[in-house]
Subunit: 478 residues, 2 copies
């Protein structure tokens, strides 16, 4: 029997201004984890969450993670862990989110101040962290509050784990989760993470797979210091020339990875899998809108979704050490570091990928016969992840989506990596569900990040509804 | 008969601490012309020069150049023009220098604060602008002062032209020089510029040729904003991929320019020219020392000097818009601008070079079949220059070098461009001499720029001696 959710839903609607105000307060704290000087703001954001949770009656702890590796002058921001309810007759759901955000500067091209939540005439709420991931994190708090004010019993015990370093590699979190798996997180029956996005803008989805990411540094050095190209051009091997030539052998303009052996690591496409893509609610227009252009690699949705979900991709992100400002500096940079990453998919093992990359890069560099020095290394890697979408955790979420949004959700995978997903699965041994709140046009990690008001408010309903359906699912593991 | 210079030289020696103090004051003014917020310091440096010149009895004018093109909120720094002496029985020498400097940050890797002149135990004077070009500019002022204090008659009328935008393309200066050629600069019999360097560290040189420089922007754009590589990698054409592939077709690791037609524009090497390179005082060790490494393209000095002086070279300086910081950001940049320059030599005409570059770049991009957009443009160009080293201006300088340093100078060309050289030649119709003060290891435009104390003090003697020999040269044009 479907749970009675009407009074909860009504309460969410009537509290919507209050919930937007809560998001406004959170966005106003510039909790940029990658910038040293913002670290106090990251901590402040963790404390803000803790206070709000305490006010809602949750038991809360701020757990320190020690010093930041390679930046020993900095303390890592604390993990905020909390428990709401401890009724042994209820299921216990562990939810994860992050309270840190990507860097953002008005000068980068934001139309509005990135740390001032600004709602436009189409009810789009702009601000850094609005959709990634402050909106979803506050969604859990809002769900608790709406239950309380509606006088509806909270259907599960909720364990919460909110970290402050997600946008900078979740430093320290893996060990913390492993340590707490049989302690603070011991009761968890399943895990839910709201930190990804709908495929398009209209239809909700549940996500059961993620690509991994191996991130490489390719460093070429030669001269003892930066040189003037007038004086040294034509007399010395130039690191930029070598780096550009090596990087040009990694991927072609059609997106094809040119590193031998990579394609062979990829799980073959079966007819069954192939047939799934046609039904997914996604159009090329969704892609064009989120791209902001029509520069797609493919002209059909099936191949586009496969390109995002089930095939690896290689991106060249930039070069450290080369001239990067506007203007016209005639420098020969002495040391340049190319930043390249490969999105990985089943069945690519990180060590195998690394070996292929190293062999290829070193081989291509050797062909150049340059006197410069090249070193290639994997800066970090995160494995791909695929879960079972037939587990009760997914079934409950599917019913909740249908209740709130009136449609069955698509079962999707994601192109990006959320490494903590795999960590939770491995540490707890429980099913992990990705339950997104925002939509494909939210521009997480870009300028003008936003969360639609509708996604936020209906998302709060969804998180609550999901917990009610979880409480009603048969107890056997799916 | 050689001029009597002993009392002048002695005076220079006894004033050497005072002259170093004057350089210290100049280096302390961070007159970085490329940084908007430093513009007041550039102006301050111009005013400092003007005051010092006035105190020496020169007539001085600060000439405004109007607003900075494309940065209309900024006034260009003034040109400091000055005259010392107006005896119609004397020759008039026009000297040029620049009082602005390259950017410099301690964090870039400077061993000392770049704007604090720091003398080490080997009498190397470190500081931004020490050798480029504050040391040489102050050299002229110091020469005047030493003549005064030694009671030696100044042998020529000296016209001075010191600009404050050289490191940012000498904005506005060309028109100024053309305008003043028959006005303020009308009496000039020859021009002398001290803004380049010895080939090595031991032997002085006179310079009669320069390469030109055509600087290109190659812009590739596609997506409406920066993208997350997890979400969009494998679905969209990536501007960085296209740019890297296009740039990889410009030059190979041996320094060979791959753009068809460029080599054909270069004046052929004659046997006579070829024979000149063997005698030049330059060793591969000089190159290795200034490179800070042994990563030379060639293993002999002749081919190395040709690579620097008489063949074109192509350098890739960097990329604007791509990720350039330390760390590991997984961004797909929406718009990237490659910065590439070609050093030009006789007989490469700028328009011909541009056409070859545009055709090649557009052709290579077309081959990629990318949906992104590429535009290539010449950001600025400066023509190469070759003068007659048999003119009395050079003969006088040669004798002065022999007097001060005890050796005949090498007659050299330079790999870098000093566009104002050609402007002075064309505007005044007079011979232009490049008379360097610093040496090859001075690291202009790099971290740890320095000027050796010996080069500074003997350089002051040389500038004065040069003017005495100029006064004695036969009047016929060389
Ligand atoms: Zn996130
Ligand atoms: Zn994120
Ligand atoms: Zn200079
Ligand atoms: Zn310079």
């Amino acid at each position: 029997m479907a749970p009675q959710l009407d009074s909860y839903f009504k309460q969410v609607d009537s509290l919507s201004d209050h919930f937007i105000e809560r998001l406004r307060k959170a966005v106003a704290i510039p909790s940029v984890s990658s910038e040293d000087e913002r670290r106090p703001d990251v901590v402040k954001m963790g404390e803000f969450l803790a206070e709000q949770l305490k006010a809602l009656g949750a038991s809360v702890e701020l757990r320190p993670l020690g010093k930041q590796p390679h930046k020993e002058h900095l303390d890592l921001p604390p993990v905020v862990i909390a428990r709401y309810g401890s009724d042994s007759n209820k299921r216990t759901i562990l939810v994860y989110g992050h309270y840190d955000v990507q860097p953002a500067l008005k000068e980068d091209g934001w139309a509005t101040d990135p740390f001032t939540l600004t709602v436009d005439d189409k009810d789009r709420m702009y601000g850094r962290g609005s959709t990634d991931d402050k909106g979803p994190v506050l969604g859990w708090l809002n769900a608790i509050e709406a239950h309380q004010k509606a006088g509806v019993d909270f259907p599960v015990n909720l364990l919460m784990c909110f970290e402050g370093m997600e946008e900078y590699g979740s430093e320290g979190l893996d060990d913390f989760i492993k340590d707490e798996a049989d302690k603070y997180f011991k009761d968890a029956d399943a895990v839910c993470i709201s930190d990804n996005y709908w495929l398009g803008t209209e239809k909700p989805c549940l996500t059961y797979g993620l690509r991994g990411c191996n991130y490489y540094s390719i460093e070429v050095s030669g001269p003892g210091q930066d040189l003037h190209s007038g004086v040294f051009g034509g007399t010395a091997h130039e690191p930029m020339t070598d780096l550009v030539r090596v990087m040009s052998t990694l991927v072609d303009s059609s997106g094809k990875i040119l590193i031998p052996g990579i394609a062979e690591l990829v799980a073959p496409l079966t007819d069954e899998e192939k047939s799934l893509y046609g039904d997914i609610a996604f159009t090329m227009d969704n892609l064009y809108e989120s791209l902001g252009s029509q520069t797609s690699l493919f002209d059909n949705k099936e191949r586009t979704l496969m390109g995002r979900w089930r095939y690896p991709s290689l991106s060249i992100h930039g070069i450290e050490g080369a001239y990067s400002a506007p203007g016209a500096k005639t420098v020969i940079p002495a040391k340049v570091i190319g930043k390249v990453s490969i999105r990985t998919v089943p069945n690519m093992e990180s060590a195998d990928v690394n070996k292929l990359v190293y062999d290829h890069v070193n081989g291509e560099f050797a062909k150049l016969k340059s006197k410069n020095k090249l070193t290639v290394s994997c800066q970090h890697d995160g494995k791909w992840w695929v879960a079972s979408p037939k587990h009760w955790n997914f079934t409950a979420a599917g019913k909740a989506v249908e209740h709130v949004w009136g449609v069955k959700p698509d079962l999707t995978r994601e192109g990006g990596s959320i490494p903590v997903t795999l960590t939770f699965e491995q540490a707890t041994g429980k099913n992990v569900l990705l339950l997104p709140m925002g939509s494909s046009t939210d521009a997480a990690h870009s300028i003008n990040e936003k969360l639609d008001k509708k996604n936020y408010i209906e998302g709060i309903k969804l998180l609550g509804a999901y917990l009610h359906y979880v409480a009603e699912e048969p107890m056997k593991e799916g």
